[in-house]
């Protein structure tokens, strides 16, 4: 690409794109999606990585210069988007979507290299031929996007209550929304990669020198791709971090019985994991210990789950013959990216009939 001063326009593709991103992220924020700490940081890191990667000039090279390879890449991306749209998943669900996201991220990076990012290049970075090359895919992509959106609305409109269950689930969990969001940004590049003819071998650009920024961009891409996998693999080995407190409850204490408030939180995993809590009040009267509140089936749930799905293995409360109260909450945290990776966490409360805390948590 060539650096040239072009006529400065107030309405550029970049400004429209930036406004769109701010609006969408803003709505996400307002919708409450921006509440997971690690996910938020990771999203910020991804955005910074995209900015750094985009600032480095690229050449497609021999391999990505071939049209069959580029068309294959577009096919993989399309398949990934279709599978991602159809996979029902929830915030805590186990699904292929996180794994698909990683594959798609890698494909989008390759797509950017294959098309030299001409599809979204600013005017100052393209010459007149590249400008016409950039504008044509946008025209075609608009038609495709409009057709897809129209078809989706049509299906949603004509589907019956029974037949639209898959659509309801799909819309509820937001995957078509993410697909359309991705298409807004990448469909022109996909069209360009599909249409652009093979480059003559004499025009294959020489390998670009590895600048410091290029190395930084590559490192950031590697971190962005490997971090979720590394954090997932760390889930079974990361030490559990537990905070707890036991507080006497004078308001509940009488001559006949005494009570204590038990609170414990065990955090499993780094970045990807969950918090398993106990928050309960238990009492004793000398004959037996018993639950006042917080030790029921409905209290067995984790929170703050990121990249994992939790399933309760055991949630039981029993009282021994000698009056000792036993509560066991055992949960399995399974990675959403690599479902064969999991971690079992157990929380216990054993309270003797004389108020002695035998085990907690």
């Amino acid at each position: 690409m060539t650096n040239r001063l072009a006529n400065v326009s107030t309405l550029t593709i970049q400004r429209v794109t930036a406004t769109l991103v701010i609006l969408i992220v803003g709505f996400w924020f307002l919708a409450g999606i921006w509440f997971f700490e690690f996910s938020s940081l990771y999203l910020v890191f991804i955005i910074v990585t995209i900015l750094v990667v985009r600032s480095v000039p690229v050449q497609p090279g021999i391999w990505l210069g071939r049209r069959p390879v580029r068309r294959g890449l577009v096919g993989v991306i399309t398949l990934g988007l279709v599978l991602g749209s159809l996979s029902p998943y929830g915030p805590n669900g186990v699904g292929a979507v996180p794994f698909l996201s990683l594959i798609l991220a890698l494909c989008f990076i390759l797509l950017g290299r294959a098309t030299k990012r001409v599809a979204s290049a600013p005017d100052a970075m393209v010459d007149e031929r590249e400008e016409s090359l950039r504008n044509r895919p946008h025209r075609i992509a608009y038609t495709i996007f409009a057709a897809l959106a129209g078809a989706t609305i049509l299906v949603a409109y004509v589907a019956t209550a029974d037949s639209r269950a898959w659509l309801d689930n799909s819309l509820k969990f937001g995957s078509p929304f993410i697909t359309f969001f991705l298409l807004i940004f990448f469909l022109p590049a996909m069209v360009l990669a599909w249409l652009e003819p093979d480059r003559p071998s004499s025009e294959l650009a020489p390998r670009l020198p590895a600048t410091r920024r290029a190395r930084l961009a590559m490192s950031m891409v590697a971190v962005a791709l490997l971090l979720p996998i590394a954090l997932t693999l760390a889930l079974p080995f990361a030490p559990l971090r537990t905070t707890m407190k036991v507080v006497a409850e004078p308001e509940q204490t009488s001559a006949a019985m005494s009570c204590k408030y038990f609170e414990a939180r065990t955090r499993a995993g780094f970045g990807y994991g969950a918090v398993i809590p106990i928050s309960a009040e238990a009492c004793w009267d000398g004959h037996k210990a018993f639950e006042n509140w917080g030790l029921n089936q409905s209290d067995c749930h984790s929170f703050g789950s990121e990249g994992t799905a939790d399933s309760t293995i055991t949630c039981s409360r029993t009282t021994d013959a000698d009056g000792t109260l036993h509560f066991l909450y055992r949960v399995r945290l399974r990675s959403a990216i690599l479902p064969f990776v999991f971690k079992d966490v157990a929380m216990t409360l054993v309270l003797a009939r004389d108020g002695r805390v035998v085990a907690f948590p």
Binding site: T2, A6, D127, E128, R129, E131, S132, P200, E203
Partner: protein
């Protein structure tokens, strides 16, 4: 002067522009990259123009003409160019006459 982006990909044989850029480049010992830098375009664009797959805008055509120090009609034509040797000698080829006669 035409604005940038007024060039186009020839959609039919009628809209094709013939050019001598490859020959002129070879005469001046210029690579595509060097010529591209001189006129401010991507080096691949030079290749597209040389092959007749892209018709440059008037602005770019003038820049190419200035770079080679030739009038535009010496570089671009609606008709296929005759070989430069024939242009120089201004002599129509006679049947049976060899190239070195």
């Amino acid at each position: 002067m035409a604005a940038r982006g007024d060039g186009n990909s020839p959609s039919s044989a009628n809209s094709k522009l013939y050019n001598r850029i490859a020959v002129l480049r070879a005469e001046r010992n210029l690579s595509r990259q060097e010529l591209a830098e001189a006129v401010g375009v991507n080096f691949q664009t030079i290749g597209y123009i040389e092959r007749g797959e892209y018709n440059p805008s008037l602005d770019l055509a003038f820049r190419l003409a200035e770079t080679f120090g030739l009038p535009i009609e010496a570089i671009f034509s609606r008709q296929p160019f005759r070989p430069l040797s024939e242009e120089i000698y201004r002599r129509p080829r006679v049947a049976g006459e060899g190239p070195n006669t």
